[in-house]
């Protein structure tokens, strides 16, 4: 489903990624660990088509993101990818239901089908009664649950989760990780989880370690 082939990326003089390769099968759930500054977020941005590699290719479902223009990559991202961020990044002026429904709207799904799918996700993340609340009325754990629902609502092929438990306490983090794993399994989406946490990594199917030399399979 995802094939990262020998990608390299540098920002000005600073080389961030050097000939990194990665393969991911449909529905696979992997963790990527690594020291700060080693290029984990850059790798996610390359996979998301938000950055273009200086060398190498990123193939998503067989399509080379580097050969597409910005609008085309944006459309791929809109329909085939989901995102979970460390700082949640819910839109403050949208209700919880509208935050979750935003990817559906961007994909042209409105009305009853959108409402039903949002309700389904709200129930799945345990926030069915908070549909009309605003993000500021939620706790950190609840906000991240909303973010997970938003990432999966449009049934993406791949979810990119960048330190999703970094701002949560241990209990909330555990809850969010379980929820993420369950939802991925239910929707059949693949996921790359970037984390510093061994506990978080342990919830995935395999763990990879990104170093200056490239990606290595970590010992489980």
């Amino acid at each position: 489903m995802l094939n990262v082939e020998q990608v390299s990326k540098a920002f000005r003089e600073r080389r961030v990624l050097q000939q990194v390769s990665l393969q991911l099968a449909a529905g696979e759930y992997v963790a990527i660990m690594g020291e700060s500054g080693v290029g984990k977020s850059t790798l996610l941005n390359l996979i998301a088509g938000l950055e273009i590699p200086d060398a190498g290719r990123v193939l998503l479902e067989g399509r080379d993101l580097g050969s597409m223009d910005d609008a085309e990559r944006t459309r791929v991202r809109r329909s085939r990818l989901g995102f979970v961020f460390q700082a949640f990044h819910l839109l403050p002026h949208l209700t919880i239901a509208k935050n979750i429904g935003l990817p559906l709207a961007l994909n042209g799904i409105h009305g009853a089908p959108a409402r039903e799918r949002v309700a389904e996700l709200l129930a799945a993340v345990g926030l069915a009664t908070r549909a009309d609340s605003y993000p500021r009325e939620l706790s950190g754990g609840e906000m991240q649950r909303v973010a997970i629902a938003r990432a999966l609502v449009h049934r993406p092929a791949l979810v990119l989760a960048d330190e999703p438990t970094g701002n949560l306490d241990a209990e909330a983090a555990q809850h969010v990780l379980e929820l993420l794993a369950n939802q991925l399994h239910r929707d059949g989406a693949a996921c790359i989880l970037v984390t510093h946490s061994e506990i978080a990594a342990a919830t995935t199917q395999r763990t990879l370690r990104l170093t200056a030399r490239g990606i290595e399979v970590a010992e489980q």
Partner: protein, 839 residues
């Protein structure tokens, strides 16, 4: 290491340098406000100084003067006055406004008694040898001395000739000498008093007598003695009063300009408020961190004020400099009255004192500080712990203060009931200020009301934009308030100016029913037409009938500027066909002389239709009955209309200044005009025009007068658009994370641009709707209160719908475009990385 400086660097200079474009924009707006205010002030003050110098020049060392109307008073009064106890020196003067025979302009000619004037005008006295030599060199009785500015204006040197028109004849004078500017600063010519009396048909008359009190004499006693022997047509005037009289006509105009210029400074202050508030909203977490690290709330408030003060100092310094430059160029190209025509012939010198510079510098800094006070107080309210939590977002709800806005409007409405203060509509200005402030206060409420009913369009960028605006009342308020302020004032001025212009046009059409108009001379001018010539004109082929008019002056109350007498042959039964009658008397005139007074005269002297007054005409007072009040845009000090036959009966003055011609049906106007020209010959200057030409001229004067206000309005609008730009660019910075997420979720750059354009569009639409409502209200105050109290002119309301629609469309389009341009950072790649930033 100097920690104190580091904190200031971080807390004051850092934020200013982090958003250099917004900082520069704010400084520019303050500079613009100060520059406009300072330039208008300097121009007004320079004009006032010049008028004062001219008056002082004529007064010399006199403590006061006895001033007669243009026809003068009997010179036999002079020895009586000179012998009064308490008078040390008296100098008779004949002052006439002589028409230049070959030009449309008028020259003030001052006839002095050279012996007497030496006691009161030493600067002229010192020139005595020069004058005598000059007079001898010139042709004796025709010698005339020009002041330096008059010589410059008329382009005449010693030895040149100058033809002046007296009645219908020419009098040729020889310029005996040009006086040094220090000797006589007025724009005038000096002649011997006897020559003035002889050449200008003033034998046995004087127009003023300059008086100096004896040491220790009580001025009020002397005034009483003077009043006892003076005729009704004379008044006692001090140099200060003379200056005030000269400036009064333009005072309201100058005050209105100053008020308009200060609006720019107010908008600048508001922009400081909005940029500082937005910066604090954006830097909320940074400020909370600084507080957690040990910077007290008081210090944080001082930092905010410090930043604003720095911008104020820079903006005001630039503004003062720009103001000086603008004033210099405005004086050079538009004149001391900025094209309004109040100070023709005046060539003021621009000077600026240190105190004036300091005051305007302080005004600019004060405006910036005032704008920063509320944001500074808000820094103290930031909840440190909450703000440092991840995922925390500041509340962007705007509190609605409908009751306070209503209270401001109510107080404003009450102010409208107050009379003018010192002839200025200060309460009216206060009401306008309160209504503008009330509008700004009401913006969150109005935004809420206007945005809430908007439906979801199932168009993601538009829906996101509307949701954002609904949910960010404070941002939206800050964005829209500056444009509301400037647009409402623009709307107000547009409606007022259109109403005034349309009323003037309709009035001109009404009062010019004849086919051709001839004008020779005016009040106090030496040119006039005699009745024999009028008879000849009336008998011209093609002329059906003529109506003649004489312009004079009457002193309706002591120590006030005289009103204009328009003595014209009137059809009393159909007076409403000849003038724009506002009110008519319902009671019969009885035996009193019927007169009709203008609104200005009615307001100034609190007179109304049906009243009887004592009218000073010639050397006597006549009982006159006010038969009506008429609309008049020509005579700002007021006018009264009287039948010329009555006027001649009461004064014996048969001179004529104007003739209206009604032609036979089908007669060629140009043919009649040629006949009139042939009869009058080309030896004298006169105005011969059709009503169409006169209407066009009056509208040209009007447009020139109001041209500067258009410039000031445009500046206010540009500042308002700056406000939208500053606000949206600040929001884009604050919403980088949001834009980053949207880009992650698949929103294209084009959709972000569409979203921003939609936000700008909606803000523009709200600004236009609120501005139109508020502006319409302010325009009514301008029309019914400010103008009425300033100029005593009533007018009908005309709404310039096409112009307002065009301005609204331009503003909305500009707001949309500016929103996209200001938010271009939201479309760049940097926002993608913003999702990883804490701030």
């Amino acid at each position: 290491m100097r920690p104190a400086i580091s904190v200031w660097n971080a807390a004051v200079f850092g934020p200013l340098l982090r958003s250099p474009s917004r900082t520069v924009l704010t400084i520019c707006v303050i500079a613009l406000g100060v520059a406009l205010g300072f330039a208008v002030y300097l121009i007004n003050r320079s004009a006032a100084d010049e008028v004062s110098r001219a008056a002082r020049s004529l007064f010399g060392l006199a403590d006061f003067t006895v001033e007669a109307s243009a026809v003068g008073i009997d010179e036999n009064v002079y020895p009586l006055i000179a012998r009064l106890p308490g008078i040390a020196a008296a100098s008779p003067i004949v002052e006439v406004h002589a028409k230049l025979a070959d030009q449309r302009r008028v020259l003030k000619v001052v006839g002095l008694d050279t012996f007497r004037s030496r006691q009161l005008q030493p600067s002229v006295a010192n020139l005595a040898p020069t004058l005598e030599r000059g007079a001898q060199a010139a042709v004796g009785a025709n010698a005339l001395f020009l002041s330096a500015s008059a010589a410059r204006d008329l382009q005449r040197n010693a030895g040149d000739t100058l033809d002046l028109q007296v009645g219908m004849r020419r009098e040729r004078f020889v310029v005996a000498a040009v006086l040094p500017s220090i000797a006589f600063e007025d724009n005038a010519a000096l002649v011997d008093i006897a020559i003035a009396q002889w050449k200008f048909d003033m034998l046995g008359m004087v127009t003023r007598i300059n008086l100096r009190l004896a040491p220790g004499a009580d001025a009020s006693d002397v005034r009483k003695r003077l009043s006892a022997i003076l005729p009704e047509t004379a008044r006692i005037v001090t140099p200060g009063q003379a200056t005030d009289d000269a400036l009064r006509l333009s005072r309201a105009y100058r005050s209105n300009l100053t008020a308009l210029a200060l609006v720019a400074l107010f908008t600048g202050s508001f922009l400081v408020y909005s940029t500082q508030t937005l910066a604090i909203l954006r830097r909320r977490r940074e400020l909370a961190l600084l507080h957690a690290l040990g910077v007290t709330h008081r210090e944080q408030m001082l930092h905010t004020i410090g930043g604003a003060t720095l911008m104020g100092v820079l903006g005001a310094s630039a503004g003062v400099f720009l103001g000086l430059v603008a004033a210099r160029y405005a004086l050079q190209f538009a004149g001391a009255d900025l094209g309004a025509g109040y100070f023709r012939g005046l060539t003021p010198h621009l000077t600026a004192g240190v105190l004036e510079l300091a005051v305007f510098l302080a005004l600019g800094v004060l405006a910036a500080i005032l704008g920063a006070i509320r944001p500074a107080l808000e820094t103290a309210r930031i909840a440190t712990a909450t703000s440092l939590k991840s995922g925390d977002a500041p509340s962007e709800d705007a509190r609605t203060h409908g009751a306070i806005a209503l209270a401001f409007i109510a107080v404003g409405a009450m102010l409208l009931l107050l009379p003018p203060i010192d002839d200025l509509p200060l309460a009216g200005y206060g009401a306008i200020g309160l209504i503008v402030i009330a509008t700004i206060i009401a913006v969150p409420l109005l935004l809420n009301r206007l945005l809430r009913p908007l439906p979801t369009l199932q168009n993601v960028p538009i829906d996101l934009a509307l949701t954002h605006l609904r949910g960010s009342g404070r941002y939206a308020t800050l964005s829209v308030a500056a444009i509301v302020t400037s647009f409402s004032l623009m709307v107000a001025m547009l409606i007022m100016v259109t109403s005034f212009r349309s009323s003037l046009d309709a009035w001109t059409e009404k009062i010019l029913p004849a086919d051709v108009y001839l004008r020779i001379g005016y009040i106090g001018q030496t040119a006039y037409l005699d009745e024999d010539r009028l008879d000849a004109l009336t008998r011209l082929p093609g002329v059906a009938r003529t109506v003649s008019a004489r312009f004079a002056q009457a002193q309706l109350a002591p120590d006030t500027a005289p009103v204009t007498i328009v003595a014209r042959e009137i059809d009393v039964e159909h007076i409403e066909d000849e003038i724009w009658l506002e009110h008519a008397a319902t009671t019969p005139a009885g035996g009193a002389v019927p007169i009709w007074i203008s609104e200005a005269a009615s307001d100034r002297f609190r007179l109304h239709a049906g009243m009887e007054i004592e009218l000073p005409l010639g050397s006597s007072r006549e009982r006159a009955s006010i038969r009506g009040i008429w609309r008049d845009y020509e005579h700002q000090n007021g006018a009264l209309l009287i039948d010329r036959r009555e006027y001649v009966r009461l004064t014996g003055d048969r001179a004529i200044n104007g003739v209206s011609f009604w032609l036979d049906p089908g007669v060629d106007i140009d043919g009649v005009r040629s006949g009139i020209r042939n009869l009058l010959r080309d030896e004298v200057q006169y105005d011969l025009r059709t009503p169409r030409e006169l209407r066009r001229m009056s509208l040209q004067v009007f447009d020139r007068t109001f041209a500067v206000t258009y410039v000031l309005e445009l500046v206010a609008i540009v500042i308002g658009l700056f406000g939208i730009s500053a606000s949206i660019s600040a929001q884009v910075l604050a919403r980088r994370g949001e834009f980053g997420v949207l880009r992650h979720l698949g929103v294209t750059r084009g959709q972000v641009a569409k979203m921003l354009a939609c936000e700008g569009f909606v803000l523009g639409v709200v600004g236009v709707i609120v501005g139109l409502a508020s502006g319409a209200l302010v325009s009514l105050i301008l029309i019914y209160v400010v103008n009425r109290q300033s100029f005593h002119w009533s007018m009908d309301v005309f709404v310039p719908t096409p112009a307002l629609a065009a301005c609204s469309a331009i503003l909305i389009a500009a707001a949309s475009l500016i929103a996209v341009l200001s938010g271009r950072n939201a479309m760049g790649d940097d926002v993608v990385r913003a999702v990883k930033e804490d701030w």
